[in-house]
Amino acid sequence: MVESFRPENLREALTLRRDSKVIPFAGGTDLMVRKRSWSGTLPRFEYPALFISGINQIKEISSTEGILNIGAAVTLASLIQHDAVPVILKRAAFQMASPAIRNAGTIGGNICNASPAGDTIAPLYALGATVVLQNSLGQRELQINEFIKGPGRIDLKDDELLVAINIPIEDYNNVYYKKVGTRKADALSKLSFVGIARTVDEQLVDLRMAIGAVAPVVIRIRAAENMLKGRNVKEIPKLIPDIKNIFSDFIKPIDDQRSNAAYRKSVSLRLVEDFLKGMR
């Protein structure tokens, strides 16, 4: 039985993906832990691994016509270093894991793992990102919130690979990211808050807020954003209680080994308030 494949290019990878059941393997920083067995022994993969971290076509970052295109196998370290990547995404990536893990782990892997605590995901929701899925016949593109269906569940067909993430390029002059974790590095998020906005002459022109790890998927509530869009920055503080109420209905955290529901809920609402109070 063949236990792994190392395709040279995307076409080969997609052919393999079509013809047999395989597990896409990029940086492997999640897979090698999930599949691990006793120390010194072989990790247990139920299907052959498809090594894709060397495929250059999915490791590039480029922009065309106002859209930033990030290859799925771009590492978290590369995201942080590249000029065109939005600051909010860099900040989130920078607080993930450790330097060594960021050097191997990829944005595509973080998305496809679809952990509610996956740290690149909340920024991608806020940025309105889409994902590009490809099989040997062609491509399709989905909004990221359509792609991620629940914890560990994605709308990826067995013959498809996630090949790229597209982000509309916008300017934000208010950028707020907070990851709440147990320590400064190598910490899984208890929750994370993403707030990005653009104000022009104190008018709020654009606003996105997303909260991670407080529900089965990232929360982004358009109703809350629309309540504030178009208003003067000075009006915002008095609307904060209403905004918090809207979020409160959607924040449904769980108790787990990292944190409990009460903590996650109260802290995330405080972060909403802190972001909005600081809006310039």
Partner: protein, 158 residues
């Protein structure tokens, strides 16, 4: 099923035949007898297994050997032979940055990864660079001091 895997290890070409899904840490320790990289956790949280692949710091316990094909690997055994190491070794010894020594190879690889792109780091940058390396003995301050000292003394080396 085993495959031929060829890569450069500490400056020499190595060919092994093994299952590509095996952890690179196990290949280093069991097949190649290089015990300098340690298993502290087996899940990428402690950094005791850190090696450089293509000059980039990675955790060998999370690296499948099949992804090492054609790469240029440096382990502590190879690094030990360099001038840069000697400067770090002296600085670590003087600062008291080694107690049990278990984290030390990983710390040195992380230090090399840092200094090779940032020869004059400040304290914050050093702490950030070793943030994936756990030490149960020293409390880190001596290690940070050792790396600062090495960076001052190592003019022109990095």
């Amino acid at each position: 099923m085993e495959k031929e895997i060829e890569f450069v290890l500490n400056g020499k070409i190595v060919q092994i035949k093994t299952n590509p899904l095996r952890r690179f840490l196990d290949v280093l320790r069991e097949d190649l007898g290089l015990k300098g990289s340690k298993e502290g956790c087996g899940e990428g949280e402690c950094g005791a297994c850190s090696v450089l692949v293509g000059g980039i710091l990675v955790n060998a316990c999370l690296t499948a050997v099949g992804t090492i094909v054609g790469q240029d690997v440096l382990t502590i055994e190879g690094y030990r032979e360099t001038e840069r190491f000697k400067v770090l070794e002296k600085a670590f010894a003087e600062a008291g940055a080694v107690q049990c020594g278990y984290c030390t190879p990983g710390m040195l690889m992380a230090a090399e990864a840092l200094l090779s792109i940032n020869p004059k780091p400040d304290e914050r940058e050093i702490r950030e660079a070793i943030s994936g390396n756990l030490c149960r003995c020293t409390g880190y301050s001596m290690i940070v001091e050792a790396i600062q000292t090495a960076s001052k003394r190592g003019e022109g080396l990095w």
